[in-house]
Symmetry: C2
């Protein structure tokens, strides 16, 4: 069975957040060319949520992901986690941590066993999991561990017009500058290049590397990180056959004409990557984890506890995450078939 | 004579750059509701440039800016600097520095004497002026000195959808973080607030203040500058009656819906301000200097030596700068009339 015919495994995420309702909304939009997916979640919770919101959505428990594709057109397939979440909308409960984590574990097991094409994760509430003893910095690091360790997961944000990859992520800006180094840029660029080839079907990817300082340092007049760290990293990458270019002044890299000249922008810190993509496409951005032995995407927003349970959360980012996951899984299958 | 009827003084800028040809292009676009302007430049140079480019533009030397408005519909008015630039397109000549600086001096003298409504400056080539002994860090600082000293000039970038003000500007990012302080944020915010009232005609401006760190520091988990510097600055501003809000996560401040909730975004460093505005509107952005005793705008690009003399440079930013200068001068006149 090819990955193209396999369904996508969607995790429950924090049950007090908007994950359930955006999953229901995504299923309602299935006529619009959405790939088949099933939830790793509690069927009763989802049926109750649909009822409360007044949405006519038949929920169907499945024993095996293999049933999902056939059921999907007529009902929302849910593979039970075996645990009933206790949280009410907007109010996370640490007792739900095993269900939240169990859904991730099961979805990863599915994709690794060839039962699912890809994993799409609904947002989790980290502080709630921490209270229950979760020991990983976040979703992505946990997935990397489930994938067997020794993996450098790389975060890419994707919208139809732009792909960005921050080299440093959740660090205070001051520390991001201190931590920036050549090895990190080279490692992230290599993983990005490989993923663009294998999972995005781009045979000769172009990576645009941003400078750190204003005007990319103006030849040393406005900072030396370009000269000491970024330019040597680009030179190393080029010697390895990777088409990395730059460093470019970050402020002139992201307008429509500039965006057409590269396949992904490598950014030196969180906001350098996230400001342009969220400015261009606030609702439709997708978070992708590169470097894992399977495809994983997620909507580019949090649990949105403040609006959970009302049915008002926008499902655009989850829908884009499901679509992109299916495309990436198909590209990966084709790349593997070519060897 | 009201400022609304006065012409705008446009400086020559670096004669080896694109200033001359974008001024000619702007004049050609005059039917499209452009305010009257005149150049402080060399009429012979401009007539020669128009001839070389094959553009039919009658150039008329004027002795006094008072003649400009009447001449403008039929010919491009030029108040001679008295010096003939020697530079060829793309090749700056330090011998032209007195002409470049003289044009700025004359335009400022015009606006201060009530002969011009506002000053719009064409881009200068700083390194060329430095070679000739120019001792100011840049255009803006020189204008502040001409205006009498004791002035903190504030840079604002404006496009139809967004106004941004960087609190720190041309510093290496590492130094921008070190230099960030409460007094600077408060000073810049006060000048911005006053300008939005007097020059943009906004009676109750809202200022959105960006955080420095990812997610605006996540309550200290991702950096402490928000807690130690930015929040106290906002509290001080609010006590002074200024509607400053934030600190906001910079990545979610600049999408279309967010932009509608404030009149200007105060940013902590160069690229935090310039990435969003250049992503949204690369060609039409205008650079405005706030805090001067007169209105000054400029196109938001440099001398573009590489394409100078070809007639291909886009005049959109200069045209927007001329329009905005006229609007700001009119608002300022109305504000002064109200007292």
């Amino acid at each position: 069975m090819s990955a193209m015919a396999l369904p996508i495994a969607l995790t429950m995420g924090e049950p007090a957040g908007v994950g359930g309702e955006i999953a229901l909304k995504a299923w309602l939009a299935r006529a619009d060319g959405l790939p088949s997916f099933y939830l790793r979640d509690d069927p009763e919770r989802l049926a109750g949520l649909a009822y409360r919101l007044g949405w006519r959505i038949p929920v169907r428990a499945i024993a095996n992901p293999g049933e999902a594709a056939e059921i999907f057109p007529a009902a929302l397939p849910v593979a039970p986690t075996g645990l009933s979440p206790r949280a009410r909308p907007g109010q996370p409960d640490p007792a739900d941590a095993p269900a939240v984590i169990g859904a991730i574990d099961a979805a990863v097991a599915d994709v690794r066993a060839g039962r699912a094409a890809a994993v799409v994760t609904n947002p989790i509430q980290k502080d709630n999991l921490y209270r229950a003893g979760f020991r990983h910095p976040g979703h992505t690091e946990y997935l990397a561990e489930l994938a067997g360790g020794g993996i450098t997961p790389v975060m890419m944000l994707v919208c139809p017009e732009l792909r960005v990859v921050p080299v440093t992520i959740h660090l205070p800006l001051r520390r991001a500058i201190t931590c920036l180094n050549m090895a990190a840029i080279v490692a992230v660029a290599r993983i990005t290049d490989a993923a663009l080839r294998a999972e995005f079907g781009i045979p000769a990817p172009v990576l645009a590397v941003a400078g750190l300082n204003p005007h990319a340092g103006e030849a040393g007049g406005l900072g030396r990180e370009e000269i000491e760290i970024i330019e040597p990293a680009i030179a190393t990458l080029r010697r390895q056959g990777i088409d990395a270019r730059g460093p470019f002044a970050a402020d002139t890299m992201f307008h429509a004409e500039a965006r057409r000249s590269y396949d992904a922008a490598l950014c030196m810190y969180h906001d350098q990557a996230l400001i342009p993509i969220k400015t261009i496409d606030f609702d439709g951005g997708v978070n992708v984890t590169l470097g894992l032995p399977f495809v994983r995407t997620s909507p580019d927003h949090g649990t949105a506890l403040g609006i959970a349970g009302k049915g008002t959360a926008r499902a655009g980012s989850l829908i884009a995450a499901l679509r992109l996951a299916a495309q990436m899984a198909a590209a990966r299958t084709r790349a593997e078939a070519r060897g």
